[in-house]
Amino acid sequence: MDAAEYKCPNCSADLKFDPVTQKLSCEYCLSSFTIEEIKQICADTENSIPSAEETNMQQDFEEHTNLFHCASCGADIMCDDQQTALFCYYCHNPVILAGKMTGAYRPGKVIGFKLNREMALDMFNRWVQKRMFVPKEFKSEQQAEKITGLYVPFWVADCNVSADFSAVGKKIRHWVSGSYSYTETKEFRVVRRGNIYVDGIPADGESKIDDLLMESIEPFDYSELKDFSMSYLSGFFADKYDVDKAGVFPRIRSRASQAGKKVIRDSIGSYNSLAVHVEQYNIMNTDWEYMMLPVWFMTYKYKDKVYEFAINGQTGKLAGTPPLDIRMLRLVSLGIGAAVAVFLGLTGGAFFG
């Protein structure tokens, strides 16, 4: 009966009691907790009633946020009621006013843009200049105009990772004495257990934007986090999330485990070989924050494929996959190859002498 009352602390899905393990487990994110653990975790959050101030802010958000919908790619774009979104940031097709936002989509925190449009364009141009095989249109001014200042919805998680590691490590030493070669092997039982705290792993809640692209422009400097206010949207667009925290949890779990693994492996000295017997990273608790993070975003459709390009609107870190004009590359590489062949033919005496 307990199971029905509790939500998963990691992804908010319903927890179910597993008679085999005698634990409450989440079918969605595969987390599991003892009843004592879950009671302890939930004790802090149960019966929390929104304050009056919080209720006011949600109402303000609902009243002053317009939602535009792209019929072509399905993107939902938010902006304040002082401006109108005309084109979709993703597919560049016209968008239509779809109504007002509900308070559930109001983010708790935001980091404002520090890079203006000119700075972002300058960075983009410098990045493009280094790549001579991008299609001409990608370098055009019309393309540059498509760069959009976008607040991307992020689920940011603080995770407590319980690490359990056990292995047998070998240290091997060789030496030669007289006409014999000696090998000394020392075997150690290596055990590491502990709690690793991973703070602020972000995962974007927008399914259209490539997750890897967003991970590439990290990290954001959370010391500049502010409480969300409608004023931050002025002059920029914001995306409405379409992946909730349960949806992004597998990514968070994977990255938190990766981080935990790095800590454990870094703590192990230099062994010649390591035979791992146990290596488990369980996420015991996750604290979520829904926030808007600033990204200068651009897409380019080339040969039925959408190429995405993003600049961290706070730090200026950029990432993206440049489109490759394969025909131009083939022509140039064949030209150079032919020039090399002719040169070698001439100097190697294939044509004369």
């Binding site: 006409s179 991973v198 981080a259 790095k262």
Partner: protein, 317 residues
């Protein structure tokens, strides 16, 4: 299915390109029609024979006459000029390179430039080490390459005296007969194709000797086969360069890796409450180091080029 068709089309296009290039290479290789300097073999064996500079057969002119006839017959059989030159003590001061030069000049002055034939210089001058050499011209360069000459030298070592020892006329006589037999044997065994030979003297332009369709060519341009190989080599290197440019450029247009999540680890809050490295066992193994010993080997060869179109194979006794 569509993808499979595209792959097939690409393979087909690549094959067309390869065969197209081969056709172009073939045309380029055969173009130019360089002048054939080869004078061949006139069929006149009167100048072939044995020159006894050593005076070994001075007292036995009939033996010398017999040897001379045998060499002439050999020349007729193999279709090349052949001379066996028995060097006496007046050549004792000749260096190896001077001996090469001497045989080249002797050949050209006796048989003419760019003719087919060879001179076997048998060093009985008494110098140590003795230096035998074979100066080859025209077709002989192709038929009697360095390996073949080395085999002939090895055979002749049995009949020739060691350096510093006096020669035995009977053994030399037998040796010359064997030499003629060997020339005929290797001439039959040889099956030259489009061979090439690069003449490496400083004073003369490079001359290339090759046999094509049974005809000997001595030209100042490379053999078509050689040209073809060089063209194909240049094209293969060009293709590799093209491929490398494509691969490197494509790798630069791939997505770079994402941020490492360990950036987000809070070192202050994290706590490893159990960290242990306990020695569970230790053991030592030992192996006897196998000692190896071996003898040394030595191999050397000699040879150089001189004159109109000659090559040499030299041998020290």
């Amino acid at each position: 299915m569509k993808k499979f068709g595209k792959v097939l089309l690409n393979i087909f296009l690549v094959l067309i390109c390869i065969f197209g290039l081969l056709a172009v290479d073939s045309v380029i290789a055969k173009s130019g029609n360089p002048k054939n300097l080869s004078q061949g073999f006139s069929g006149d064996t009167s100048k072939s024979g044995v020159v006894d500079n050593c005076g070994l057969f001075e007292d036995d002119p009939r033996t010398l006459e017999g040897l001379d006839e045998a060499v002439k017959a050999c020349a007729g059989n193999i279709g090349m000029n052949v001379m066996v030159y028995i060097a006496g003590d007046e050549k004792a001061y000749y260096t190896d390179s001077y001996t090469d030069e001497f045989t080249d000049i002797l050949y050209d002055s006796t048989f003419g430039e760019y003719t087919d034939g060879l001179i076997y210089y048998m060093d009985l001058s008494g110098k140590s080490p003795a230096y035998d050499c074979i100066s080859k011209s025209g077709k002989a360069m192709i038929y009697y390459d360095d390996d073949t000459c080395e085999k002939i030298f090895k055979t002749m070592d049995y009949y020739l005296p060691s350096s510093g020892n006096l020669p035995d006329a009977d053994r030399i006589r037998d040796g010359i007969y064997v030499f003629c037999d060997k020339l005929e044997q290797y001439n039959e065994d040889a099956s030259p194709g489009s061979f090439k030979y690069e003449h490496d003297t400083d004073s003369q332009p490079n001359v290339y000797v090759y046999v094509m369709d049974g005809k000997t060519y001595i030209t100042k341009k490379k053999a078509p086969g050689e040209k073809m190989l060089r063209l194909m080599g240049a094209e293969v290197i060009g293709a590799i360069v093209s491929l490398l440019i494509c691969i490197i450029t494509k790798s630069r247009y791939r997505f770079k890796s994402s941020t490492n999540p360990s950036t987000y680890v809070s070192r202050e809050k994290s706590n490893l409450y159990e960290q242990s490295d306990v020695l569970i066992r230790s053991y030592v193994t030992k192996h006897k180091i196998e000692s190896s010993s071996g003898g040394g080997g030595h191999r050397s060869g000699g040879g150089g080029g001189h004159g109109g179109s000659h090559s040499h194979s030299g041998h020290h006794r």
